[in-house]
Structure formats: structure tokens, C-alpha cells
């Protein structure tokens, strides 16, 4: 196929609450009142009103047939619109343009909108994530209304979403976005236990530290939070906070060169939220507040992040606590030496791990996800930053999302192998509340051959868990 093609693009993103608008029937009333946030601001108010009006209509219409859940998406010939109602009366709406290919048949070009290449389940997830990320830092919309006022809410939305929308790489989202998963670091029992104890020491020493999370590079080793909360924190850390800091560290060269080096004397640790300089109180800086929701009710915490030698420790400190410089000093003094030796062990363990042989197109790629702790593994993605840096073609990834969607019909223990027209084999299986996907590129393989291969992979990759037999 020749001609010029276009990827999925963000057309608009808006949040409204009909309750703020004029009452039913009052058509004179100012419809704009309903709109709390609208992107792009370049759309004139007329357009904004129309768009909101349409959504209201759709919501109302769909409800008459009482569907199992509120309306989630609208398909038109050129656009896709996704809906999310996070709180009563609040609707968050995302509008995307379908990807385009222009085909040239006997020198007549025809534009084709690839409806199926924009997958609802992927972008619904993206939409929800946008809201949850906001909620992580500002709490619910309603919360702001109750504690502050409408203008504050609008302001916060403006600040947050305008930045957030710039940051998401719309066209690179895929099944991983649906999972919103967390990567755990494989580690030996002893080192893990040492980390556990380390965390316990701290939490018992500073009892206003309610929870702690421990990461190495972008992998979690210990999380005291419920997965749902950790999920967003993890997105924030790996997506925003850490990348920024890794830069500065690379210049410092934070990884211990040779594990034997007596580098304990050096001081590697520093707070990446909190004071930049432990000698000056004024550098305490703005420690972000986060709102966690898992334990039944909303809880407010300071998120203090300490980083040393590619290890990251997050402290969730009771929101009411007043943070003084001395607290940070004390923490630093306690953590830094212990952390160094722990990191040393981790680094040593990791270096011992056999690195999987450099993947050829033939080597099967897989994605694993556990619904219960949100753990995921992927040999398809070379990083977890949605850079579209993947080792298999995008169609197979889409096939996976299709499968994820249809798996709901296959029950608790469903399994599916398909062969695409470009001779990829894609396998999916749900079992014991886990999901496993494999892509194989083997032109002349038979279904039986592939099944065998898949079986082997499941046994090797999932040996330590219960996975329904093939």
C-alpha cells in the first residue's frame, strides 16, 4: 500500500457535568457552564456546546435500553469517541481520529479509515488512566468541589490534563495499556528478605510512614500498597518521575562498577521528592500529596521518594504529618548505608541472571499478566514507556487485544490460537486469573507444531505457578 498514511490522533478531550448547566428544556441557559475542561481550546464555544450536547443525547438514548454498564464508546466513519463516568454526573470524553491509509488503485487514490485498528478496550483504558492519574494527585472531582470551589476544580483540571495529554503517546498504546501492569523484579529469597527487614526497620522507626515501596530500576521488589493504588503510583514513577532523574544519575554514574568496591563510604542517596540539599530547610520543596483509595476510604499521604544506585524507595507518610528537615536528615542517615549494601546484593543477583539470548524474529515473544497483583512481563516490549518499541508487528499486538476482548466468552480457562494472513501465530490463554499471550512467526509451522511450541513455552515461562494444562 502506498500513499500517505495517518496514525491515530487526539481530536478532543473534555469533561462536563450536566448538573451545572441550565435545567431541562431551558435552551436559553448557558450550556458552556456544563463544561469543566475542554481541549483543544481552539474549538470555538459553538463546537464545544455541540459536542457536549451530542454526548448528553447519547447517554440519555443508551440508558433507555438499560445496558449492563453506561455508554463507553461511539463509532463514526471517521472518529472514535470514548466515554467514562468516574463520578455521578461527571463525564470524561476522549475523541480520536481513526487511522488512515490512502491506497492507490490504478492511479486513483482512495482514503480508507481503519476502524478496527483503533481498539476500544485500549483507549477506554487510556481514558480511565487519565482520570485516575488526576485523582491520584487531586482526589475526586467532588472532593475539590466540597473542599474548595468550582473555579479551583477547573484550574486544577486545566493544569493537570493539559500537561498530561501532551505526555501520552496516543498512537503507541496497546494491550499493555489495558493491563496497566506492574513489573516485578525476580530476586533471590535472601535479598528480598533483607529488603523486607530494611523496610520494616524504617516503618517501625518512623511510625508515621504508613507504607513503603521499593523499586530497582523500573521493577518493583516490595510494595506495601494495594495493587490498584500501586498501579497509578507505578505509572507515575516509571512514566514521569524516574526518567527525569535517571538523566542526572547517568552523569553521576550511579551503578556500582565492581560489586566488591567498598563504596559504602560514598554517599549515593538523595531525595528526589523532598529537600534537594539536606543542609538547607528551604530546599524541602514541594513533597507531592497523593490520594489512595483501596482501603475502603480515601487516604491522603505525602509521597517522599528516595533514590540511590538505581534503587528507589517510596515512603507514604500520613497526610497530617508536618515534615521537618531533621526528619529527612535522619531518614537519609539511616537509609543510605543500608541501601548501598542491599543494592549491591541486588546488582550481584541480576548480573548472575542468564540474559535471554538476543531475540531473532523467530524467537517467540510473550506477554504475561496476573489480574490479582497486576504483575506483567513482556518480551514484546523493549521498554514500558509506550515508545512503540516492540519486537513484533503491530497487527499481532492488535490481535492480542482482540483476543483479550473475546476471552470473556471463553470463561475461566479459555485458550485460543490463531494464524494471521501474514503468517503470524498468536496464542492466548486465561487461567487461574492470569493471562498469557504468545506471538510466533513461523511460516510453515502446523497448528500441532505451534501447539507443542506453546506448551513448551508455558512450561518454561510459567513453571512456578498453576496454569491450566493445554
Amino acid at each position: 500500500m502506498g500513499g500517505m498514511n495517518k496514525e491515530i490522533e487526539l481530536q478532543s478531550f473534555f469533561i462536563f457535568n450536566s448538573a451545572f448547566g441550565p435545567k431541562e428544556g431551558d435552551l436559553e441557559g448557558d450550556q458552556l457552564k456544563k463544561i469543566l475542561y475542554y481541549y483543544p481550546s481552539t474549538d470555538n464555544t459553538r463546537v464545544q456546546e455541540d459536542n457536549v450536547g451530542l454526548v448528553e443525547g447519547i447517554v440519555q438514548f443508551t440508558q433507555t435500553f438499560n445496558p449492563s454498564s453506561p455508554v463507553s464508546s461511539l463509532h463514526t466513519s471517521k472518529l472514535r469517541q470514548l466515554y467514562f463516568q468516574p463520578e455521578p454526573d461527571f463525564w470524561v470524553v476522549l475523541t480520536l481520529t481513526l487511522p488512515i491509509v490512502t491506497k492507490v488503485k490504478e492511479n486513483a487514490t482512495s482514503v480508507e479509515y481503519l476502524e478496527e485498528d483503533l481498539q476500544d478496550n485500549v483507549y477506554e483504558a487510556a481514558l480511565k488512566q487519565a482520570y485516575y492519574m488526576y485523582r491520584l494527585f487531586w482526589g475526586t472531582f467532588q472532593n475539590t468541589l466540597d473542599k474548595n470551589d468550582l473555579d479551583t476544580l477547573k484550574l486544577r483540571m486545566e493544569i493537570f490534563f493539559t500537561a498530561y495529554l501532551k505526555s501520552i503517546k496516543i498512537s503507541n498504546l496497546d494491550i499493555l495499556t489495558i493491563f496497566g501492569g506492574i513489573q516485578y523484579l525476580p530476586l533471590d529469597r535472601q535479598t528480598f528478605l533483607n529488603i523486607q527487614c530494611f523496610v520494616n526497620f524504617i516503618e517501625s522507626k518512623w511510625n508515621y510512614i504508613a507504607h513503603t515501596a521499593f523499586l530497582y530500576n523500573e521493577h518493583i521488589i516490595w510494595s506495601g500498597l494495594e495493587p490498584n493504588d500501586m498501579q497509578m503510583i507505578y505509572q507515575y514513577l516509571t512514566g514521569t518521575l524516574l526518567p527525569a532523574n535517571v538523566e542526572t544519575e547517568l552523569q553521576g554514574g550511579s551503578m556500582p562498577r565492581n560489586t566488591a568496591s567498598p563504596f559504602i563510604s560514598l554517599h549515593h542517596g538523595r531525595f528526589i521528592t523532598g529537600p534537594t540539599n539536606l543542609k538547607q530547610a528551604k530546599t524541602i520543596g514541594k513533597v507531592p500529596k497523593v490520594y489512595l483509595f483501596s482501603q475502603g476510604q480515601v487516604r491522603e499521604y505525602h509521597l517522599v521518594v528516595y533514590r540511590a544506585l538505581s534503587a528507589t524507595v517510596c515512603f507514604f507518610i500520613e497526610g497530617k504529618t508536618e515534615l521537618a528537615l531533621n526528619d529527612f536528615k535522619a531518614l537519609d542517615e539511616f537509609i543510605n548505608p543500608k541501601l548501598s549494601s542491599i543494592v549491591n546484593d541486588i546488582a550481584e543477583y541480576c548480573s548472575k541472571q542468564v540474559v535471554t539470548p538476543s531475540s531473532t524474529p523467530e524467537t517467540p515473544k510473550f506477554i504475561y499478566f496476573n489480574k490479582l497483583n497486576l504483575a506483567y512481563k513482556s518480551s514484546v516490549h523493549l521498554d514500558n514507556k509506550h515508545t512503540g518499541n516492540v519486537t513484533c508487528n503491530k497487527d499481532s499486538l492488535r490481535v492480542m487485544s482482540d483476543m483479550k476482548h473475546t476471552n470473556s466468552y471463553l470463561g475461566l480457562d479459555g485458550e485460543n490460537i490463531v494464524k494471521t494472513t501474514n503468517d503470524y501465530w498468536v496464542f492466548s490463554k486465561t487461567s487461574n486469573l492470569r493471562e498469557f499471550y504468545i506471538v510466533l512467526q513461523q511460516k510453515n509451522a502446523s497448528l500441532i507444531g505451534i501447539s507443542e511450541e506453546v506448551k513448551r513455552l508455558c512450561e518454561t515461562e510459567l513453571d512456578r505457578i498453576f496454569f491450566h494444562p493445554m
Partner: protein, 620 residues
């Protein structure tokens, strides 16, 4: 200096009482048999021999007056009495229990002086002279002695250790210390004690002791000037029992000292300060590679006050004994004698008090682990520490590590003895650790008794598990169960998941079933259970779970040929899902093995009928 109340040293409260020294009465102590001899006017007025403890009855006899007694000792079997009155000869008398008979004597080589004599063995008498040692065997019936052996070496004074049968012969004012061992009729020179050349030592500054089953020479070194005194510990651990200077005890004081050993702890009494210091050579200390330097384990402490009752005019009166009195003489290992008072005490150590004075839990644990009565004390201590509202987790972990270090060796030894190691291999009974705290003990004495604070319990348990892991000891079921339930009761399923994920909690069927039972509390627990069972290859249990979850076909897939058609058909029937019943029935129907069963087993026909009713079809 520490108060009496919490003093960890005390004198035995039933001292051996004897007639105090006076013009007429001499008192001798034989540190081989630990006998106290009171000799009235050279024995004419009688001799009383008292054993080390009040309750064995004293011996009484008389001797003829042959001048003043220099030394007097009963043979090991108490059948021969040896008395030295001159420095050239020893007189011997056979003793029948209450009277002496038939004297005979032995004199040493010409122009040499007797420094002393030793009952080195049953009927073996070693006479130490300034020219060496002459070893005789005594033949009471013939009233004669026969020389067995002799060595010649100049001796100025000597010290004898009856336990190890080793004597130190000092010459050149104690700058030359020559250990010799006197055993079964022979005398062996050992390597000299290495000391800075020309450094002299007085007899009273040299102590022979046994530390952790190793003979050791303790030499008190007084320093000139500002420096303070030290005790140099030479252990006979070198080749051929060669003494090795292994430890130096830093006393931090100067003046007169006396040394005792209690339960392998070295006590150094300081007269001037009327206090004692305590050292344990097994503790880590600064080391220069060969020698370890020790400071006292706990703050100095003096003896608990003690009193004896003396006959009064009307009634006996309590008399407070003077502690660290100049009349004190100490004998090994733990004997203190006040001749003026007529008392022999044994020194007792109160471990609990001692531990209370050691702030560092880790050191405390090491000390307690080495003591014969350490177990209850250590447990008490741990419990106390844990029950503080903010227990020092890092110290606790160190303590656990010391405990498990001992525990690990024990476990390994058990394994060896079970795995039938070479039959002739000496079963290491004697290496049973003095204090063994295994998981069951920890469970019953600590985890069961500690105050109910879930998050604390969790943290302490994790510490303990970490320590067990450190020493490669698999955790027992009850410990695993406890951590699981502790987490669950806090609703910390995420934590539980991670502990399982990283293999902290061992895989055991009972744990799996516990997890299953929690399925209603949190979905993850069923997942964890299944994973665990999968790791244990417990397909039976897995099937049961799947069945109970209504995943009948999955279960069937696992059961393969071992499935019980009746069970599965019943499950399918109860599910009320016709398709499921069909699937199960057809699976058996199409299965080479089961199809026959299906036909022959009458009881299964009810299912077939049921099926036919549902689908009103003639098939199957």
C-alpha cells in the same frame, strides 16, 4: 560501680566452714581434691579434713608431733596421706578412714630442695624440686615407693592444674615458663610459654585454667606507668599442646588482682576497687591477626553481700563477711577461701543479672548462648526486648542470627547422624550446644507468648525468617502458618502474595489448604493455593479445588485417566448445566478406557438416563 542489688556475682550461701587459723592451728588447701586440712599443733591435737561441700562428712585423725607441717595432701583415693615437713623428704601414711598407720617416707635427690608435691594420679606422687620433677608410684601394702621417671630442670616455683594434669615450672623469676604434663607415669615437657624475653612473673600472677575445654595459662601482666594491667591468655592449642598467646584482657585498672573462672567466663577481682570484671574470650574483639583484645563484657560489679552466723554469747549472730578481704585466697576454678574467717566459698554467676547489665542484645545473646544455664535466660531476654513498644529489629535480627548459627550446626549434625554417616564416626554427643533454641522453642516461648500486636508480630517473624533463610534452615509449618495468619488477620493479602512470590513462605500442603479456606476473603488466596499445589505437584488437591470452584472440565483435564467418572458426572449433574453434563458424559463416552466403564457400571446409567431426559434423545 554497680549496686549490690543488681550484682551478677555472689558467693555460695553454704560456705564450707572450718576452724580459722591461729597460733595453734594451721590450715591447708589441697586444690587437687579440694580438701581443707585444719592441723592443730602439728596434728597432735588432730587433723580435720573437709571436702569441697559442707555435706560430705569430714575426716578426723591424729598425727604424732614431728615438727611443723609444710604441706599435707591425701591421695586421690584418700588411702594414703602425704605430709611434707622438711624440704628434703615426704612422709607417707596409709589411711584406713579414721586412723593412720605404718609410716614410710621418700627423700628427694641429694642437694635438691622440695618445692612441693602433687598426687598426679592414683598412687602416683610427683615431687617438684628446684632441680626438676621426680615421679614415683606408691605401693601402700609394701610401704614402698618406686621411681617411675624424673626430669631435671631448674624450678623456682610451679603451678599445678589437677584437671589437665599440667604443671607450669617457673625459672628465671618466672621469665621462663615451662609447661609439663604428668600423665600415666610419664612426664612430658611441652613448648615453653612464649613471653616477652626477660618479662618476669610472680607465682600468684599465673593461673592455670580450662576455657571452653581448652587448657589455658592466664598471666597477669602489671604495666608500669600510666598503662593498666592486662591478662594474657595462652591457650594450649598449638601443635603438641603448644601454648599460643590468643587473647589479651584489658583490665583498665592497676593494683592487686585475683582470677577465677566460672562457666568459661574469666573473673578478674580487683582488690583496691573491691570489684570484679568479667571476660568472655569467645566474644569477638579487636584483633591484630593473632591476638584478640577483650574489654569487659559488662560493667564491673562486686559480690553480693553475704554473711555467716557465728556463735554469740546468747545465740548465734549473723556476721557480714568482708568482701575482697586481704585474707582472701582464690583457687581454681571458682573457689574463694577466707582462712581468718574459716570459710570456703564457691563463686556463682547470676546470668540474668549479667545480661541485664549488657545493653547490646546481640552481645548478650552471644554470652547467654555459651552458658550452661543460658536458655531460659536468653528466652526471657528476647521476649522482654520484643515486648518493648519499639523493639530494635536490627539487633533482634543479629540475636536471631547467633541463635540460628548454633541451631544450624545442630540441624546439620542431626542430619549427618540420621543419614548414617560412617558407623565408627564418633557420635558428637559432647558437641550438643549448651543452648539450643530451635523453631519449636521460638514458636512456643516467643511467638506464642509475645503480646498481641499483629504488625509487630509480622515484623519480628520476618526478621526470624530472614535469619533462618540466612542459615539455610527451612522454616517449620507452624512458623509459616503463623506468618500467613498474621498477614491475613491484617488483610495484607498483597504482602502475602509477595512473600510467596519470593519463596519466603515454604510450599506445604497444609498451608495450601489454609489458603484455600481463605478464598472467600480474597480471590488471590485461591490463586496462591493453586500455585503452591502446582509447585508441590499435588494434582489430587488441585482437582478438588477446581471441582469446588465448578471448573469441572479443567479438573477432568488434569485427572486424565485417573478420573472417577461417578464423581465428575455427579459434579456435572449438580452444576445444572446441560452442556456441561454433555461434555463430561461424552468425554467418558469417547475415552477408550472409560467408555467400557460407562457401559458396564450400572450406577453410571442414572446419569445417562438423566442426560437422555434432558435432551430427550436416544444417543449414548
Amino acid at each position: 560501680m554497680s549496686q549490690d542489688t543488681d550484682s551478677y556475682l555472689e558467693l555460695s550461701d553454704d560456705p564450707v566452714r572450718f576452724e580459722p587459723v591461729n597460733q595453734l592451728t594451721n590450715v591447708f588447701f589441697d586444690d587437687t581434691n579440694k580438701d581443707v586440712f585444719t592441723v592443730r599443733s602439728g596434728g597432735v591435737m588432730g587433723v580435720v579434713v573437709k571436702g569441697p561441700s559442707e555435706n560430705n562428712k569430714p575426716l578426723n585423725f591424729r598425727m604424732e608431733d614431728r615438727g611443723s607441717v609444710l604441706s599435707i595432701k591425701l591421695s586421690l583415693d584418700r588411702k594414703v596421706l602425704a605430709v611434707q615437713r622438711t624440704n628434703t623428704s615426704i612422709e607417707l601414711m596409709n589411711f584406713n578412714g579414721d586412723s593412720l598407720e605404718s609410716e614410710y617416707s621418700i627423700s628427694c635427690k641429694k642437694n635438691s630442695n622440695i618445692l612441693g608435691f602433687i598426687w598426679s594420679n592414683l598412687n602416683e606422687l610427683a615431687i617438684v624440686t628446684d632441680h626438676g620433677i621426680e615421679l614415683y608410684t606408691v605401693i601402700p601394702d609394701k610401704k614402698s615407693l618406686k621411681q617411675l621417671k624424673s626430669i631435671s630442670v631448674t624450678v623456682q616455683w610451679f603451678v599445678w592444674c589437677p584437671k589437665n594434669k599440667i604443671a607450669i615450672l617457673a625459672s628465671a623469676h618466672g621469665s621462663q615458663l615451662q609447661p609439663v604434663s604428668i600423665k600415666q607415669g610419664c612426664i612430658n615437657k611441652l613448648h615453653k610459654v612464649e613471653t616477652e624475653s626477660g618479662r618476669m612473673a610472680l607465682e600468684r600472677d599465673v593461673t592455670l585454667a580450662t576455657l571452653y575445654n581448652v587448657p589455658a595459662v592466664l598471666i597477669l601482666r602489671h604495666q608500669s606507668g600510666p598503662q593498666t594491667a592486662e591478662v594474657h591468655v595462652h591457650t594450649l592449642t598449638g601443635p603438641g599442646l603448644a601454648p599460643v598467646k590468643a587473647h589479651v584482657l584489658k583490665l583498665g585498672l592497676a593494683g592487686r588482682f585475683a582470677i577465677n573462672v566460672v562457666d568459661d567466663l574469666i573473673l578478674v577481682h580487683h582488690q583496691a576497687s573491691r570489684s570484679s570484671q568479667i571476660f568472655d574470650i569467645s566474644l569477638p574483639g579487636e584483633s591484630d591477626g593473632t591476638v584478640k583484645y577483650h574489654t569487659m563484657v559488662a560493667p564491673r560489679s562486686s559480690f553480693k553481700a553475704t554473711s555467716i552466723s557465728l556463735p554469740g554469747l546468747v545465740e548465734p549472730q549473723a556476721h557480714d563477711c568482708e568482701l575482697y578481704s586481704p585474707n582472701w585466697v582464690v583457687f581454681q576454678p571458682n573457689i574463694v577461701i577466707d582462712a581468718k574467717l574459716g570459710c570456703l566459698w564457691h563463686i556463682n554467676l547470676s546470668l540474668l543479672q549479667l545480661c541485664n547489665q549488657i545493653n547490646d542484645l546481640s552481645i548478650c545473646t552471644q554470652v547467654a548462648l555459651k552458658r550452661s544455664n543460658g536458655k531460659p535466660v536468653l528466652l526471657k531476654l528476647l521476649l522482654k526486648t520484643i515486648n518493648q513498644n519499639q523493639p530494635p529489629l536490627d539487633k533482634l535480627q543479629e540475636a536471631f542470627n547467633h541463635i540460628n548459627f548454633v541451631y544450624r550446626d545442630w540441624v546439620e549434625m542431626e542430619l549427618q547422624s540420621q543419614s548414617g554417616s560412617p558407623p565408627n564416626a564418633p557420635f558428637p554427643k559432647k558437641t550438643i550446644p549448651r543452648v539450643l533454641i530451635d523453631q519449636s522453642t521460638m514458636y512456643e516461648e516467643i511467638f506464642q507468648k509475645m503480646e498481641a500486636d499483629l504488625s509487630k508480630t509480622e515484623r519480628v517473624l520476618v526478621c526470624y525468617l530472614a535469619s533462618l533463610a540466612e542459615y539455610g534452615i527451612p522454616a517449620q509449618l507452624n512458623i509459616n502458618t503463623l506468618i500467613v495468619s498474621t498477614l491475613v488477620r491484617q488483610n495484607k493479602f498483597t504482602a502475602l502474595q509477595q512473600l510467596l512470590q519470593y519463596g519466603v513462605i515454604s510450599d506445604m500442603k497444609p498451608l495450601a489448604s489454609l489458603l484455600v479456606s481463605l478464598g472467600n476473603m480474597h480471590p488471590s488466596s485461591t490463586q496462591m493455593a493453586l500455585d503452591m499445589l502446582a509447585r508441590l505437584n499435588a494434582s489430587e488437591e488441585i482437582q478438588e479445588i477446581l471441582l469446588s470452584e465448578g471448573q469441572i472440565l479443567s479438573a477432568l483435564k488434569i485427572a486424565k485417566d485417573k478420573a472417577d467418572p461417578r464423581k465428575y458426572l455427579t459434579a456435572a449433574q449438580n452444576s445444572g448445566d446441560p452442556t456441561l453434563l454433555h461434555s463430561v458424559l461424552y468425554y467418558f463416552r469417547n475415552h477408550p478406557k472409560f467408555s467400557i466403564v460407562l457401559q458396564n457400571d450400572q450406577r453410571l446409567h442414572t446419569f445417562i438416563n438423566e442426560y437422555n431426559d434432558i435432551f430427550s434423545t436416544s444417543e449414548v
